[in-house]
């Protein structure tokens, strides 16, 4: 009995020691699941360089990452957060409140969202409005807002195929859905619908992005690989996900054109492909010099070897920045330029 008590006490003692002597010598990264595949590749190369430990990267989603990132300064808080959108004003305020005064913003490249289906299906072309009409919970017909009545694609526009609408959508928590909402649902929403929402005193942006729940849009879970599997087994189903998934699975799925444009590296880079967005990460300047390797990690991430057209990030689906934008990013990473919080 006595021995048991001693063992327990000893264990607690060890526990308290490990916690007090805890200092981090490894970069800690959180944030977007869209940026995760790119950040991990850079981290692995960086770790293999041998001078620093490999950074640890958590995939928390953009919003969750910002929350952790802005929680404070010190070894217990992450050094970098990945984001599939720019930092919001609210998040800036949170950062400032918690003493995270200096933040470096790095644009790493662009991401295109592909609207894809099985390679066995005929090619397709949609406009954003058609996609909105297929997915929205309410649409405007003859100047009135009604529950979405469309069952077949041909109900929306006679030129579209006479097939049942069947779309696998990413869950609301994913960055892909965020981007889809802002780039397709809000942009595709008709002026009539927007003004009708305004007249009802509702926020048009929020209402336009609501997705129908009558079985034509199926929530498919965060797992993009699973969506690819489902699409390849059902030629009538469509789904949307990051461009890198299209590249990795081009034996199973192909992209529909949007406004007649197929997703391509160049098209996403100059935004002529309509569903494209920049990707970011944010760095806590106060941690540079405290946690070893942050400066070097920034240099590796923004190096030509990683970010250029023939870089290793492009190889796995990141669409590189146009050269003028690349210069801005590289300068920010080398000179550690911070952004304004107000």
């Amino acid at each position: 009995m006595n021995r048991l008590v001693k063992i327990l006490l000893g264990f607690l003692l060890v526990l308290s020691f490990t916690t007090t002597s805890y200092a981090r010598d490894q970069i800690k990264i959180v944030g977007s699941s869209t940026v995760y595949p790119y950040a991990t590749v850079v981290a692995e190369k960086f770790g293999k360089g041998g001078k620093f430990k490999t950074p640890v990267i958590e995939s928390t989603g953009t919003g969750g990452g910002m929350k952790l990132f802005c929680a404070g300064v010190g070894a217990n808080h992450p050094d970098i957060t990945n984001a599939s959108r720019a930092i919001k004003t609210k998040e800036k305020a949170l950062c400032e409140k918690n003493g995270v005064a200096e933040i470096i913003e790095i644009v790493i490249g662009n991401d295109g969202i592909s609207f894809a289906h099985s390679v066995n299906a005929p090619d397709a072309d949609f406009t954003k409005e058609q996609l909105w009409r297929a997915l929205a919970s309410k649409v405007d017909i003859d100047g009135k807002l009604v529950e979405n009545p469309y069952k077949n694609w041909s109900d929306i526009d006679a030129s579209l195929p006479n097939k049942k609408i069947e779309i696998l959508v990413a869950p609301p928590t994913s960055g892909t859905r965020d981007a889809w909402n802002s780039l397709v649902m809000v942009k595709g929403c008709t002026k009539t619908a927007k003004s009708l929402y305004d007249a009802e005193g509702k926020k048009a942006k929020k209402e336009c992005a609501k997705i129908r729940e009558d079985g034509y849009a199926v929530e498919a879970g965060e797992n993009d690989t699973l969506i690819v599997q489902k699409l390849s087994s059902n030629p009538d189903a469509y789904g949307f996900f990051g461009y890198s998934y299209l590249v990795a699975n081009k034996d199973k799925i192909k992209a529909s054109s949007i406004n007649g444009v197929q997703p391509s590296l160049e098209g996403i880079q100059d935004y002529s492909y309509p569903i494209a967005r920049p990707l970011f990460f944010y760095v806590k300047k106060a941690h540079i010099g405290v946690i070893p390797g942050i400066k070097e990690f920034l240099k590796e991430f923004t190096s030509k070897k990683a970010m250029s057209n023939r870089g290793y990030l492009a190889e796995i689906g990141l669409v590189p920045l146009a050269s003028d934008k690349y210069k801005v990013t590289r300068t920010a990473a080398v000179d550690l330029n911070t952004i304004k919080l107000k």
Binding site: L15, A43, T54, S59, N76, A248, N249, K254, I316
Partner: protein, 420 residues
């Protein structure tokens, strides 16, 4: 209705019931078979890796080190040129583009593999040796038959020219399958051919160890006290009800608790087996207390009374007689509790274990992932090579669970006393 008819009716009812019972067991077994078969057929190929047999010549001029160089000199030396020079000799490529495509057939670690060979024998300058270099995941999947080659070129990840090289390798028996040591030794990686569960195994081991060290003594002492010493009153009844309730609380709630208390208040480091172990211990505690108490209860009162009758104190009767007899049941209950903890993912998500960790943790305070988390992470990856890795990890996890449950059953059957 006559007597005979009623009898027949009752017999028919019995037959129907037997049929329903058999059907449900059959359906349940069928699902298990389908699940296991699916995982095995996808995952078994991950235990082998494709290697390309390559002749490597160590050129003095390219390496700039001497025979008999020290460890440090070799570590510093650049093996990049040696790798390129030797790899492009494996097939007569005509121009830079073709050479690039050829190089892509090898894994990203080819340089490190060549360096390792030199570290083993530092007298190789000017000599040629044959090495089995790991192939890239595209070639690996193609060679294992997981990737179709009869598609048009623009839909394939492997170009026509790379297929020509591949066929050349196959013809000359340069390509073969070896045991996949990387799968067990390496941490996570973005290259499927280099990714392994080494880090996740160590992380799971530390978590379960800490969970055992915390949960086992507390659970055993708590159950001994509650069963043998505590007075039976409203307070102990209340505690008992709560222990049973806690055992049914969804595991993610423990994750939230750990997030608030261990990470936010005590400020323990995120993503570490230490926090995972404490969280899992909290979760497992009631699940161990319940079988512990049951096994203590199963010891007949005559044992206690016998001990007391010859003058043993209450403490002696419990610790010298009751506890040793209850030990097999206690241990098997603990092992089953730990097996549940081993397969747990939900609370680990909240404490940051769902992370990309390459370095294998060397202590419980190093960031780490765990086996079920590794399954979750790989199932989300785009690369084709991770499909078999995911299933293989599930196979490893399942085999650990089966072994643990087997030990629990063995302990119980071997050492448990039957009271007739």
């Amino acid at each position: 209705m006559t007597k005979e008819e009623r009898l027949k009716k009752r017999h028919r009812a019995e037959k129907r019931f037997r049929f329903y019972g058999l059907t449900s067991i059959f359906v349940a077994l069928l699902f298990v078979v389908i699940l296991v078969q699916n995982i095995f057929s996808k995952g078994s190929s991950a235990f082998k890796k494709t290697v390309i047999t390559t002749e490597v010549f160590f050129d003095q001029e390219l390496l700039e080190i001497q025979n008999g160089a020290s460890q440090e000199e070799i570590m510093e030396a650049d093996f990049y040129d040696i790798m390129i020079e030797n790899l492009i000799k494996t097939y007569p490529a005509k121009d830079r583009d073709e050479e690039d495509e050829l190089l892509k057939l090898f894994s990203g670690d080819a340089e490190i593999e060549i360096k390792k060979a030199f570290l083993n024998d530092n007298n190789l300058i000017g000599k040629t040796i044959t090495l089995d270099l790991t192939a890239s995941d595209d070639i690996d999947q193609l060679h294992k038959g997981n990737y179709p080659r009869d598609l048009p070129e623009e839909r394939r990840r492997i170009s026509d020219f790379q297929l020509v090289i591949y066929d050349y390798f196959v013809e000359n028996k340069k390509i073969s399958k070896n045991f996949n040591n990387y799968f067990f030794n390496n941490g996570d990686s973005r290259d499927p051919e280099l990714a392994g569960i080494g880090g996740a195994l160590v992380g799971s081991f530390y978590s379960i160890l800490i969970c055992l060290l915390l949960a086992f003594p507390v659970a055993v002492l708590a159950s001994i006290y509650l069963e043998e010493f505590a007075p039976k009153n409203k307070i102990t009844d209340f505690i008992e009800i709560n222990i049973n309730n806690l055992a049914a609380v969804p595991s993610i709630v423990y994750g939230l608790l750990a997030l608030q208390i261990l990470l936010a208040t005590i400020q323990l480091p995120r993503s570490t087996p230490l926090v995972a172990g404490i969280t899992l211990a909290l979760m497992t505690l009631p699940r161990i207390i319940i079988p512990c108490r049951a096994s203590l209860k199963a010891v007949p009162p005559s044992i206690r009374e016998g001990a007391l009758a010859v003058g043993a104190s209450k403490f002696q009767s419990v610790f010298h007689h009751v506890v040793p007899l209850a030990l097999p049941g206690t241990l098997s209950g603990t092992i089953i509790g730990l097996a549940q903890a081993l397969g747990e993912t939900a609370p680990l998500i909240l404490i940051g274990m769902v992370a990309f960790v390459v370095d294998i943790p060397s202590s419980p305070v190093d960031p780490s992932s765990s086996l079920p988390v590794q399954v979750y992470l790989w199932s989300e990856s785009a690369e084709r090579g991770f499909v078999e890795k995911t299933s293989a990890t599930i196979m490893m996890l399942l085999s650990f669970l089966i072994v643990m449950n087997f030990i629990a059953v063995y302990l119980r059957q071997k050492f448990e006393k039957r009271w007739n």
